[in-house]
């Protein structure tokens, strides 16, 4: 009996580890390949057109390779040095990194402020029509981006934001997701805390600053991680609102790097996901908490 459970546990652990390995494989593979030389990459992974030609005489397959022949930082160096030419001027790869940061950071900071204020209202204050209004927030949160494409475009155009980072930042700041997540955290704060503060003569602003904000700090951290994961990876919005490819974020631009300069694709991918991985490493706890509360019943 005891032996049986031991074997069962062993098999269970093994299969879980195997699945876990599959989940992290894309990252491990990209990381290890980012240390290959450009030469090895082009030798090893011919681009599609080249492999089609090979196809004519004999099948030469692309072998997945995990360990580089020769360990080098060549790709990383090239990523920082190489310039991409756009219609009239040259751009360094770093510019796209900057583009991404210039869009994502204001979105996160803005949404933290706007959403925490709103979350306090939806979570702790009572007024007529509150729940209906909140339901409207939730429903729009569920809609895919494409649903409001045309009117959104017209409004952004009217505001003179088209083809500027503002076209991405402002809709991002007012997304309902932050309100939803932070409200879940606000709801866990007992009313008695607020009552006690009121008796001491604290106004709503003091309550918000001194009680709510400190207590939902884990929620703010969770929101930062979730927003970062979402917007660092954005594709739809820049595709529609930005005409000028030199304004593209790294997420869109990366596919171009991979097509044009395949040799540095892996290092570019790693540099692209690096901020995400760092945040994940430091704030995994909050990410999990945020996800859990997003599913908690109110």
């Amino acid at each position: 009996m005891k032996r049986n459970t031991l074997i069962r546990k062993g098999i269970l652990t093994f299969s879980l580890l195997l699945m876990a390995a599959i989940m992290v494989f894309p990252v491990v593979f990209t990381l290890s390949n980012s240390f290959m030389t450009e030469n090895e990459i082009s030798r090893h992974y011919p681009s599609e057109s080249e492999s089609q030609q090979d196809n004519a005489h004999k099948n030469s397959f692309i072998h997945l390779k995990l360990i580089p022949d020769q360990f080098s930082f060549e790709q990383y160096k090239a990523f920082f040095v190489k310039k991409q030419s756009f219609i009239d001027k040259e751009q360094s790869n770093m510019k796209f990194y900057g583009n991404s940061a210039l869009m994502v950071i204001p979105i996160i900071l803005g949404q933290l402020i706007v959403a925490s204020l709103a979350a306090y209202v939806y979570g702790k204050l009572k007024f007529k029509g509150r729940d209906t209004l909140f339901l409207v927030y939730m429903v729009t949160m569920l809609m895919p981006f494409q649903v409001t494409l045309v009117p959104n475009y017209l409004i952004v155009d009217k505001l003179g934001l088209l083809n500027s980072f503002g076209a991405i930042i402002f809709p991002g700041v007012f997304g309902a997701f932050g309100v939803f997540i932070l409200r879940q955290f606000v709801m866990t704060i007992p009313y008695s805390y607020i009552e006690a503060a009121k008796i001491d003569g604290a106004g709503h602003f003091t309550i918000f600053m001194k009680i709510i904000l400190p207590l939902i700090r884990p929620g703010l951290a969770a929101l930062v991680v979730l927003l970062f994961a979402d917007y660092w990876n954005m594709v739809e919005q820049p595709l529609i609102f930005l005409d000028d490819p030199s304004k593209f974020p790294l997420s869109l631009y990366l596919s171009q790097i991979i097509q044009d300069t395949r040799g540095i694709g892996f290092a570019a991918s790693i540099l692209y996901m690096a901020p995400m991985l760092l945040i994940f490493g430091f704030a995994k706890k909050y990410l999990i908490k945020g996800i859990q509360l997003s599913g908690a019943k109110d």
Binding site: L16, N55, V147, L149, P171, N233, S255, I291
Partner: protein, 290 residues
Amino acid sequence: MKIRKQLNNDGKVAAFFLLPSLIGFALFYLIPFVMGTIYSFKDGAVGGSFVGLFNYKELLASASFLKAATNTFWFTAINVPLVIGISLILALCLHQTVMFKNAIISSFILPIVVPVASIVMLWQILFDWNGTINLWMVKMGFSQIDWMKSDWSIVVVSLVYLWKNIGYNMIIFLAGLQNIPKDYYEIAEMEGAGRFFKFRQITLVYLTPTMFFVLLMSIINSFKVFRETYLIAGDYPYDRIYMIQHYMNNMFASLNVQKLTAAASLMVLCILILVFIFFAIERRYRKFMS
């Protein structure tokens, strides 16, 4: 009297605190949403006249819309049960004491933060006509499959969806499992209940509210696979993975506002119906539980 005064007071503060959010939300979400619905009944976005259901008739007669809608439907119908099943099994496995538990959980949620654009190269290496998967296929005596340009493409996109979404659902299920009081199981055990009985009568019953949420989120997220498909296969991918969002994006590019807004409104209608069905079932379920 006191309560009423309190409410009034709250109302003013609420309005003040909510103002920034409300203005932005209205401007970038609510107004576009209403405008979009109105456009879908007009023959032009700016200054058009009302044409009733004409746009919808046109839309439903369009072959590419029907194709996109069917693809999206099947993608969701197949992948949502899959993702829920897998993540529930994983959560059940990880709910007991397992070695390396933390490392395993971390591995499963890692894909949430890994941008899809950064694994496109791996995808090409694996699923190219001369890719590594086909190499293995040939070695095992099968013939090569054109993964991205055949009906198999939906399998490839499904893999990305599963990879990305399993961790999120698993975490929510794990939280749900932790909330089931332990004594329920102890009582059932004392009564001599078997493992299967305990799973069906306790675990599944108490996990139902969580299940509703996971189901809804998984469906919503399955509507968002456009991002993944776009990065892997571009604007006009193989027929089988041409999703409703591709259709909308392409209608936008070709400035066909009527079809786009009609398609969007139909999609909104579908999502609303789904949400209301979920709420109705959940309410009934809650009554039944208490």
